[in-house]
């Protein structure tokens, strides 16, 4: 089954989406876990925005993100300068491998053997844990959900709630098997035992690695949003803190974070604010008594500068990683996060991952959608996700002659027979006489139409052509 034994990400074949999705759909446990969680998250989000002018707020969010992207290179330079002035060391990584290497080099220079991690999707993208472990450095996740997922040797199935695919019984069994915690259905007990185990790890870790929610260029400030306090522990207790972030996370002004924060937590979990909003602007000063003596930031590109080139695809980079799109996605709710086989699942994954792994590798992602539009409606920064899905679908078949495809691996789903059919279709529709002749013949021979039409008729009856064409019927009415 896919839940308990899902392989680590680096071994997953993204192309095998269909078998994984099928298995998930037939797994009542997964269906139940996700349905329950997503229903809860949707209603909490609605309640959290009550009494607010949500549309205007979303406009603000979208504008803040777009303003940042419009000046991205300047802002990154300003951020670098401010961070450096504040005593934070800045590194740049073109891709995931380089980012991993930077983190490892910092660890090696400090003779660090153990790394404690706060939640970071970019580090998942980098597969940092795997990289460090192969090189003899222990990397332990400290967010409770990530900790559970790591103990199970799995990957997160949701970007905000990594262990959402597991229920209490499964988690209790896992903690029992891996850490010796007594079996219990008491969530407080399970949480308390994880607290004890992880506190030891925080105390003894050589390096803390975290993500970043927003990076403020104006002041050189790294912002982290969390509920558990593990992010604060990770960035405060070990003597060295390394923050990894995508280059798109920078915003110009401190003021910008107020708008984004108001949207982020309400969209993500329906909270007015999270327990902790942690703003870090430097390492420990000479007179301070705690905090890391060294702080590093790794600015990771990993495909983002390619997305940046195109006016339409650019919107992908506005994302603030709230997960609302997956919470509202009918496909995600049914197949769960692991079926996608990608770091980012759900709608945001479908528009982001093809850029990171190529449209050939991720060919099923843009079409794993009913285009119902819910994701676009709830996106706090107004990313037109359905439009981007259509764009990627076109790119995957090289289907738009006027706009040449740009995404790596485009055209991988192009099928010459299908292309010919559409060509003929276009040709016929451009010639009224031919169109009438064609539809007239089709109506006449409607009984020869096949009853099975590939996957479409697996769960549906085939549509049948009308005995008379619309033109014929209109003509009859006029007589």
């Amino acid at each position: 089954m896919m839940t308990d034994n899902s392989p680590p990400l680096h071994k997953i074949d993204v192309k095998q989406f269909h078998p994984r999705a099928r298995a998930a759909i037939h797994n009542p446990q997964i269906r139940q876990n996700f349905r329950k969680a997503m229903d809860g998250l949707m209603s909490k989000r609605t309640a959290a925005f009550e009494g607010m002018d949500l549309e205007t707020l979303r406009d603000l969010g979208s504008n803040i993100r777009m303003r940042a992207l419009a000046n991205l290179p300047d802002l990154l330079e300003q951020l670098e300068q401010k961070l450096t002035e504040n005593g934070i060391k800045v590194h740049w990584a073109l891709d995931a491998d380089e980012a991993c290497k930077i983190v490892r080099d910092i660890c090696v220079a400090r003779d660090a053997k153990s790394v404690i991690k706060g939640k970071s999707m970019v580090s998942e993208e980098m597969e940092l844990n795997h990289y460090l472990q192969e090189r003899g450095i222990e990397a332990l996740e400290s967010d409770l959900g990530e900790y559970i997922v790591q103990l199970a040797d799995e990957t997160p199935s949701h970007i905000i709630m990594p262990a959402i695919h597991k229920n209490t019984g499964e988690i209790s069994q896992l903690l029992h098997d891996k850490t010796g915690t007594d079996l219990s259905s008491d969530v407080n007990y399970l949480t308390a035992s994880a607290r004890l185990q992880l506190r030891e790890k925080f105390r003894n870790a050589d390096v803390g690695v975290s993500g970043v929610n927003f990076a403020v260029a104006e002041t050189g400030t790294l912002c982290l949003v969390e509920n558990e306090g593990n992010g604060r522990m990770t960035t405060t207790v070990p003597p060295c803190h390394i923050a990894v972030t995508g280059i798109e996370k920078v915003v110009p002004n401190l003021e910008d974070i107020t708008g984004l924060l108001a949207l982020l937590t309400r969209s993500a979990t329906g909270q007015h604010i999270t327990t902790y909003f942690n703003m870090i602007s430097g390492p420990r000063k000479a007179d301070e008594l705690d905090g890391p003596e060294e702080v590093h930031v790794v600015l990771v590109d990993n495909g983002r500068s390619s997305i940046y080139q195109d006016d339409q695809l650019l919107d992908t980079l506005k994302c603030i990683r709230c997960g609302a799109c997956m919470n509202h996605c009918p496909v995600y709710t049914r197949v769960g996060g692991h079926a996608y086989g990608t770091t980012y699942p759900g709608p945001i994954g479908k528009i982001l991952m093809p850029h990171l792994i190529g449209l050939d590798e991720g060919q099923h992602l843009p079409s794993a959608s009913s285009l119902c539009g819910a994701c676009g409606e709830v996106c706090p920064v107004k990313i037109p996700i359905p439009d981007l899905l259509v764009r990627l679908r076109q790119e995957s078949v090289d289907g738009d002659k006027l706009h040449p495809a740009k995404v790596r691996g485009h055209g991988s789903k192009r099928n010459s027979v299908e292309a010919m059919i559409w060509k003929g279709w276009g040709w016929m529709h451009a010639k009224p006489g031919l169109y009438r002749l064609g539809t007239g013949i089709a109506a006449k021979f409607r009984n020869l139409q096949p009853g099975r039409l590939g996957g479409w008729t697996q769960y549906r009856t085939a549509p049948k052509l009308a005995p008379k064409t619309l033109h014929q019927r209109m003509k009859e009415r006029q007589q």
Binding site: G229, I247, N253, E255, T258, Y276, I280, P283
Partner: protein, 219 residues
């Protein structure tokens, strides 16, 4: 070419051409001009909704409340700062009364007493730089005198908040206190005790940080 320059060059020579930055209108974040009493009520309602505890008190009485709250919880000690008025008041009072727990002063670098902080401290008390009514948040700027871990490691965190320092929104607080001019090494908004819902969306408190957050509002 360095990765830095390669990335910046790709961003600068964007094939889609230059982008125009839209204007940002923050007025949607504005809330009514609440009175102090309204702000206190809203703050209390919001922070209680996330399991925070609020006690309204005065400059003359807050030490009594601290003593009483810690006694009912059986706390054996309280971590205080060395120089802040909170720390000094508590130390002065401790000389004249018996009902306060042992006072521990955070006056040496964490490296010298880390196991003790993690394993033996029951509660910590800090000041705040005000609060935010809309979301029930405390503004904390840890400093050399009130280090970061005071509000994070002990299972109970007591925060002292002056009602007169409550702001309506985060936006308002940030602008009024002119944060953009100079940020401290660490600034925090704290809105409730540490919590998680990672096990089947069931809320559990104190997963990594304090299990209890007690706010003393001085009116």
């Amino acid at each position: 070419m360095s990765s830095r320059n390669a990335i910046l060059q790709r961003l600068r020579h964007r094939s889609g051409g230059e982008l125009t930055a839209p204007a940002c209108d923050f007025s949607v974040l504005k809330r009514p001009d609440w009175s102090t009493a309204e702000k206190v009520d809203l703050f209390q309602r919001m922070i209680e909704s996330v399991h925070g505890e609020v006690h309204r008190t005065t400059d003359a009485d807050w030490v009594d409340r601290v003593a009483e709250l810690l006694k009912t919880r059986g706390a054996g000690n309280l971590l205080i700062s060395k120089a802040s008025s909170i720390g000094q008041t508590l130390r002065k009072e401790a000389g004249t009364r018996e009902d306060l727990p042992d006072l521990l002063v955070y006056d040496e670098a964490i490296e010298h007493w880390q196991p003790e902080l993690f394993n033996t401290v029951d509660a910590g008390i800090t000041s705040t730089r005000g609060g935010i009514a809309e979301t029930g948040s405390l503004i904390l700027w840890p400093s050399a005198d009130e280090p970061r871990l005071m509000s994070l490691v002990p299972p109970i965190h007591i925060a002292v908040l002056y009602a007169s320092e409550l702001y309506g929104t985060f936006h308002e607080a940030m602008l009024a206190q002119r944060w953009h001019e100079k940020m401290p090494t660490n600034a925090l908004l704290v809105s409730g005790p540490s919590k998680t819902a990672d096990i089947e969306q069931t809320l559990a408190y104190g997963v990594h940080g304090p299990k209890e957050l007690i706010v003393l509002i001085i009116e």
